[in-house]
């Protein structure tokens, strides 16, 4: 029977190919363009710098999860290949924390993901020295833990805290980022307070890596819901801790809300609303409003990048800033330093809209 089957299959196969040829021929333009694009891409990449895999740029860090490796001078792959250097502690750029006027805590935005050393926001200011303390995928808990560790070195500096609405609000509550273990916050049972959990941080992979669906989560957070309340409560707890750390360190703190590009254009807002369980209750400005309220209550200045960036300042399909976006952020940081710390040359730029108590 096996031989008979093989004979029958050998007879059926050519018939199948004959029938398939017209179908495949119809796709000739697609095959052609796909093949040609790959060949040209390969040729164009011949002279380009070779990016180092991210595994070689990041390392496990006890308690916090991960951190960029120190003394890097490498090319990495983002939306495009970009050049980056890190200092002896692993933070982006060569300026030390002690030398800097502004210290920015955040995630991949503070790390300058996708931007060259010459074009990321920290390198664009002519008079102020800016230090970015951040890494890809950080949540606010990790950023707060760094703030706590580095507090003795922050005195007199403007501390800026980037809060990215894309994943920070949700991931403050998550024990893992894909297969990596991540500190998170949880409410203390029987109390209104929260606690930071780091006991699970180990280099071993998290046993249940979950798919990352940020936009549906953000859509859910942008409407009154259990997740939304929990996310903003966790965020308030973290911001209050940050405020206390900075107050003790005598470093003025300012919080900057970073929207996802979809929150900045009507088409994106409709897309996000469609993902929300209740589109009518969806409010794209809810994160800005809730963070502004929290910051006002804490006496911490708050600025939303919605007032300073457009969707065109983000790289399409990537979500990080373009060189123009970095320039705008650098300008904003300069203005904030002038308004909140003082000093520097006066200029003609209008005063900032800063939400304060």
């Amino acid at each position: 029977m096996r031989i008979l089957r093989a004979i029958l299959a050998s007879l059926g196969s050519p018939i199948c190919w004959l029938a398939a040829v017209p179908v495949l021929a119809l796709g000739f333009p697609f095959w052609g363009i796909a093949g040609l694009t790959r060949i040209v891409s390969w040729i164009l990449r011949l002279g380009a710098p070779h990016p180092v895999p991210w595994q070689q740029l990041m390392a496990f860090e006890p308690t916090i999860g991960w951190k960029p490796r120190p003394l890097l001078d490498a090319y990495a792959k983002g939306a495009r290949v970009f050049h980056l250097t890190t200092d002896a502690e692993g933070w982006r750029g060569r300026t030390t924390i002690e030398e800097s006027d502004i210290v920015v805590f955040g995630d991949s935005f503070a790390f300058g993901y996708g931007a060259d050393d010459r074009t990321w926001f920290a390198a664009l200011h002519t008079t102020l020295r800016i230090k970015g303390i951040g890494a890809n995928g950080y949540n606010m808990v990790q950023e707060l833990l760094w703030m706590e560790r580095l507090a003795p070195r922050l005195r007199g500096k403007l501390v800026v805290w980037f809060v990215y609405y894309g994943n920070d609000l949700y991931e403050n509550l998550q024990p893992n980022l894909d297969r990596y273990r991540m500190p998170f916050v949880r409410p203390i049972p029987g109390s209104k307070d929260w606690e930071i959990v780091t006991s699970h941080i180990r280099p071993e992979p998290w046993p249940c890596p979950t798919p990352r669906r940020y936009y549906p989560r953000l859509a859910e957070i942008c409407r009154p819901s259990f997740l939304s309340e929990r996310a903003f409560a966790a965020c308030s707890f973290l911001l209050a801790r940050g405020r206390d750390i900075c107050r003790e360190a005598r470093a003025p703190l300012v919080v900057i809300g970073i929207p996802v590009p979809a929150q900045l254009e009507p088409e994106g807002i409709s897309r996000l609303a469609a993902m929300a369980p209740d589109a009518a209750a969806f409010d794209p400005d809810l994160p800005d409003r809730r963070l502004a309220e929290t910051c006002r209550a804490l006496g911490v200045p708050f600025v939303t990048l919605k007032d300073h960036l457009t969707a065109d300042d983000y790289i399409r399909g990537d979500g990080h800033w373009t060189p123009a976006g970095h320039r705008r952020v650098a300008t904003l940081l300069g203005q904030l330093h002038r308004e909140l710390v003082g000093g520097g040359k006066p200029d003609r730029t209008p005063r900032l809209e800063i939400a304060t108590s």
Binding site: M1, R2, I3, R5, A6, L8, A9, S10, L11, G12, S13, C16, A19, A20, V23, L24, G27, P29, F30, G32, I33, A34, L36, T37, V40, S41, L44, A48, P53, W54, Q55, M58, F60, W66, K77, G78, A79, R80, V81, S108, Y113, A135, N136, G137, L177, D178, Y180, P203, P205, P207, C208, P209, T210, P211, R212, R213, R316, G317, D318, G319
Partner: protein
Amino acid sequence: MITLPARPDRNWLRSFSVAFALGAGLVIVALAQLLDTRPPLRLAVAVTLVIAVPGLLRPLLMYRIYRGWNRLARGYARIARHLLLRVCYYTVFALVARAGSALRVERPAPGTSLWTPRSTLPPTTYASQDASPTASKDGLAGVLLWSIRSGQLWAIFLVPFLALLRMLEAEAKGGPPADIYTLY
């Protein structure tokens, strides 16, 4: 792969603009041949340059065209995959089925069960049991080896079709960039 990456970097956009420009030039030449006129080489070169040069200098200009083309390619791939599966089923499988079935179902002895115990799957299968490494790592070579080892030689004739189906698979859309959260 018949489709292009859903998240192109500048290099991909540049490469696409060159490929698209060459394709447009070729179409003009081919149309002229079909219409029996002298191939308008200058026009073909001009069109190629008009598309390629801006695409090379400002690759983001090509993003919408790239996305539109990729959408068309995905649509074609979906239909082609569907048709190919049907053709394969109604020719190869229908013919092989004529040889009859080797499956013999035995009734269990009274009081016994044909259920077989299974152990817990590894944590890597949490998101999708079908995507477990053991299920996919062998690929086409695995099918080939299995057909030889098991004596099911007819399955060898399926391998080229499986390869073709794989080439027609579209790259997964959505989700964050593949390597941004590869950390250590």
